[in-house]
Structures are given as C-alpha cells and as structure tokens.
C-alpha cells in the first residue's frame, strides 16, 4: 500500500511537471504568435482591398528590423551600451522611426510596382510582388552584407519566474507592444472615418467611390499601416532571430499562413490566426516530437489541414456569400 501511494505521488508529480511544461510552451507560443499576428495583419488588410497577396510583405519586416537596429545603434552605441532608461527610450524611438520608414516604403512599392498593374492579369501583380521581394532582400544583402547581426536587448533580459513558468522581459515587451498595436488598429478601423472607409473599400470598391471615397488613397494608407506593423513585428522578432537579409522569408510566409488560417481579408482573423499558429507551433512540435530544426512543418501542416477542412479560414467568409 505504501509503495502504491508512492507510485501515485510520483505519477502526479510527473503529470504536474508536464502541465507546467506545456503552460510554458503556450507562453512561448503566445509571444511567437503575437509577432505572426502583427505581420499577418498586413497581408490580410491588403488582400481585403485588392484581393492580392503582397509577397514582398515579409521583406518589409526585414527592412524594418535593419532600420530599427541601425537607428538604435546610432542612438545608443549598440552592444557597448548599458541597458537602462535611455536604451529603452532609444528602442521605442527607433521602432517608431522604423515604422515611419516602412510605411513610406510600403506606399512607394504599391505606387511603383502594383498600382500600374491593377487592371492587368491577376498574375501580374503577384509576380511583381515576388520581384519586389527579391529586390528588397538582395538590396539588403548588398548594403548590409549577408552576415546576421544581433539586436542587443535594450533592457536586462533576466527571466522572471512565475510559479514554474518562466517569462522574459522580452516576451512581456512583445505581448504588450502587440496588444497596443492591435487595439490601436481595431479602434482605427471601427471608429475613425478613414478606418471605416478602409472597411467599406474592402467590402465594395466601386460603391465606396460613389460615397466620394478616394480608393487610391485608402489603398496607400492600407500599405502604410500594414508595413508599419510589419516593421514592429520585425524588430520584436529581431532579438531572438537576429537580423539578416533573408529573415523575412520564413517568418513572412508563416504570417501569411496565419492570415489564411484566420480567414484572409479579416482583421480579427489575422490576429487570432497568428496567436493560434504560434501556440500550435510551440506546443505541437514537442508534443509530436518534431525536432527543433523541422518545427516549421507544424505551421504548414496546419495550413493544409485548414485548407482541407475550412478553406475560408476561421473568420473568413465563404466567397459565394459575396454576390
């Protein structure tokens, strides 16, 4: 009997250990997912209005990370700087500056590479986007070199222990910044005149023109906002993933998967899809004993599953309803 209860105790301890381990994975997944969400928003907003996948969007996050890093290093002296109030302030300054830069870059790309093709074959803007993607990543390699750079933490990144779960200040920053961005975006599209015009244009472009809405301006604004959010995603990802010219490729692709899972064209869908994908990836890989180097498999397996079971995504609408 004694040995029996000892066995039971051991079993319970193991089980509790497993639960906390998975809670830890969920926390990690949440932060990864928040980054996917920020980037997925750009894909989904552009798709909502233009029914077009901006394949250069992933590279915008790379540009955002580089610009953020350069400004941060210029302000603080980079690695040599001691983390403190000034480095944290400098970090947010460089994030805002990078958002501004990427917003302008996004609008310029739309003007030069997509707008002239708006009435062309559907394939043309897609190919143009792939071209832009290569130009951005090769351009970055040319200017900055191909070696990866570290984005120094602007704060002491000492892990904080809450019970058995560990969370780093970096993870907290990711979650707080992402939540702030998503709340701002949500209130922008639901409360402001331009935000509502953006929704109207994605529902029915020619009717919104009848309301006096300048659809070209709405499209520019959409690219600006999407690109600024990608810059934030790129900078937040940079601490863990480092900064290098092809950093946007896989993260961008997975954010696109997140947008599809959530229902492409739907803003809330992109937020949910990103978080969900992050968690599934962080939990699914250890659960299915997928080696770390192959954990990207999870995202794409989920994508295929969603496409098979609910092709319009979680919050997406069946296209047939659109008539």
């Amino acid at each position: 009997m004694l040995s029996g209860s000892l066995l039971f105790k051991q079993f319970r301890e193991k089980e509790v250990g497993t639960i906390t381990l998975y809670l830890q994975y969920i926390v990690n997944g949440l932060t990864l997912g928040a980054i996917y969400s920020l980037i997925a928003l750009g894909y989904t907003m552009v798709y909502g209005i233009l029914k077009f996948i901006n394949f250069a969007h992933g590279d915008i996050l790379m540009v955002g990370a580089f610009i953020g890093l350069i400004i941060y290093n210029a302000l603080t002296g980079g690695e040599a700087a001691d983390p403190g109030a000034w480095t944290i302030l400098a970090f947010f300054i460089s994030m805002l500056a990078s958002m501004g830069f990427c917003a302008i870059l996004g609008m310029a790309i739309e003007r030069i590479a997509y707008k002239p093709l708006r009435n062309a074959n559907r394939l043309a803007p897609l190919l143009s986007a792939i071209g832009v993607s290569f130009i951005l990543s090769n351009g970055a390699a040319w200017i900055f070199g191909t070696q990866s750079r570290r984005f120094p933490y602007p704060f002491e990144n000492e892990p904080i222990h809450i019970g058995a779960i560990t969370i780093t200040p970096h993870q907290i920053v990711i979650i707080v910044v992402s939540v702030v961005m998503m709340v701002l975006l949500t209130s922008f599209v639901s409360k402001t005149r331009m935000g509502k015009a953006m929704r109207a244009a994605s529902l029915d472009q020619s009717t919104s023109m009848l309301m006096g809405i300048n659809v070209n301006r709405v499209i520019s604004l959409t690219f600006a906002i999407g690109s600024a959010l990608a810059a934030v995603g790129g900078i937040l990802a940079a601490f863990d993933f480092r900064v290098y010219p092809s950093m946007g490729t896989m993260t961008g692709l997975k954010a696109f998967v997140a947008a599809v899972i959530g229902g492409i064209g739907n803003i809330q869908g992109a937020m949910i899809g990103g978080i969900l994908l992050g968690i599934l990836e962080a939990v699914g890989a250890p659960l299915l004993h997928i080696p770390n180097g192959m954990r990207d498999t999870v995202a794409f397996a989920v994508l295929i599953l969603v496409l098979l079971v609910k092709p319009e995504g979680i919050l997406g609408k069946n296209e047939r309803e659109k008539v």
Binding site: S206, T207, M209, L210, M211, N214, V215
Partner: protein
C-alpha cells in the same frame, strides 16, 4: 428652370457590343425624370456612365454647367470627384455595405461631410424618413430585408446632401406595397429637400406617374421622350411597357 444634367451624344461599348449609342438627354433642376426600358436596354450603363464608372466612347456629360465625363483618356473626373460635385447614385442591387451596421453605412454616405453636427442632423432626418432604419441602426445591414436595404441605400445616398440623386431600379425585387412606399418617399425627398431625381425603372407606370419628364431607352438608343403623363398615354409605351 435650369438644366442640371446634360448628356450630349454619348456612346458606351463593352468590347464590340454597343451598350449606348448617341444618347442625348437633359434633366432640369428640381424635377423627377425617369428613364424606362426593358432589361438590357442600357439603363444601368447610362447611370454608371454619369458617375464615371463606365468610360465614354463618344460624347460628354455636363453637371451644373461643367463637364464631368468626356470621351477619350483622362477626359473626365474620377467617380469620387463626381460624387463630390453633388451626384449620388443608389446603385442597382442596392450595394449596401453588408458587414457594416446601418449607422456605419450612413457614416459612409456622409464621408464627404466634415461638419459633425450636420452629419448628426442628417442621420436624424433619415431616421425620421425611414423609422425602421433608426430601430436597426446598430444592426449589420445584411440582416435587413430587401425593402429595408433599399431604404438604407437611399438614405446613405442622401447623407451627402446631393443636388442630383440617381436611382437604379429602386423597385427591383420588392413587394408592390414596398415599391409604392419607396416611390412616395422619393417624391417627398424631391419636394421637401429640393433634390433633383433621375431614376431608371422597369416599372414604367409607377415611374412615369411620379415623373415630370420621361425617356424611353431601347437597345441603347433614346426612342421616345416626353412629359411623364404624355408618355403614359403614348401607344407605343402602352404596348411595350404598360401591358395595355
């Protein structure tokens, strides 16, 4: 009375198919003018041409004495700029923003208005004109019935305070009683708000009864034009459109 809309010899083609050939017509300020014709006669095309959604192959369109649409590239204004001049179109099939609430749809109608007090006043006017919209203002527009959506579309167009209201088949697919109701509202809007109305309709009797002047469009050409009552008495109109 002054001429508010002047269409001068316009032609519109879809590829090799001529949708409108050499159409000329005019609408006087303060009037209700209707254009009747069968399905596929080119009625909707004409309205779309006026707001710049269909490019002209020939001819021109002037609003309040200024050219807004012209044949050839960069001849006319873009649709949003034409709307800003004071033309509102209630499109065929209503085209409400289904995923937005009734109130948000009205906000979109008032996109060009910057005076918040004026927007609030117009919203109240609309809720008085169409009480059902006031009751449903927080509902998604997709939950409205066809008749309610038509009222929504008209209210949305009026939010901008247009000088000229274009209506594309406001009675299409609605119950006769609802259609009557909508037409009497259109008359009310015309009389009280001094909005000039140009409407396109398959229901010729109702349209001509409400109009001071009418045009008949067949195969993309204007074949008849006269006072509303005169057209109602016209033998050709009676045979083709009134089932007499």
């Amino acid at each position: 009375m002054s001429e508010i809309l002047k269409i001068d010899g316009i032609s519109v083609s879809y590829g090799n198919i001529r949708a409108l050939s050499d159409v000329s017509m005019s609408v006087n300020e303060g009037d209700i003018v209707s254009l009747i014709g069968a399905n596929g006669a080119g009625k909707s095309t004409l309205l779309k041409a006026i707001v710049g959604l269909e490019p002209l192959k020939e001819g021109s369109i002037a609003f309040a004495g200024e050219t807004i649409c012209k044949a050839k590239h960069h001849g006319g204004l873009t649709t949003d700029l034409i709307a800003r001049r004071g033309i509102a179109l209630v499109p065929e099939g209503r085209r409400v923003f289904a995923d937005m609430t009734v109130e948000e749809n009205l906000d979109m109608g008032a996109f060009m208005v910057s005076d918040q007090a004026l927007i609030a006043k117009r919203k109240n006017d609309m809720f008085e004109l169409f009480p059902i919209l006031g009751k449903r203002k927080k509902q998604k527009t997709r939950s409205l019935s066809g008749g309610e959506q038509q009222m929504m579309a008209i209210a949305r167009a009026l939010m901008s305070g247009p000088r000229l209201l274009l209506l594309d088949e406001p009675g299409l697919g609605l119950a006769p009683l609802v259609v009557q109701n909508i037409f009497s509202t259109i008359k009310l809007i015309n009389e009280e708000n001094k909005v000039t109305v140009f409407l396109v309709e398959q229901n010729a009797r109702l349209a001509l009864k409400s109009s001071s002047f009418g045009y008949v469009l067949e195969n993309g050409r204007i074949v008849l034009q006269d006072k509303g009552e005169a057209l109602l008495q016209n033998e050709r109109v009676q045979k083709a459109y009134l089932g007499a």
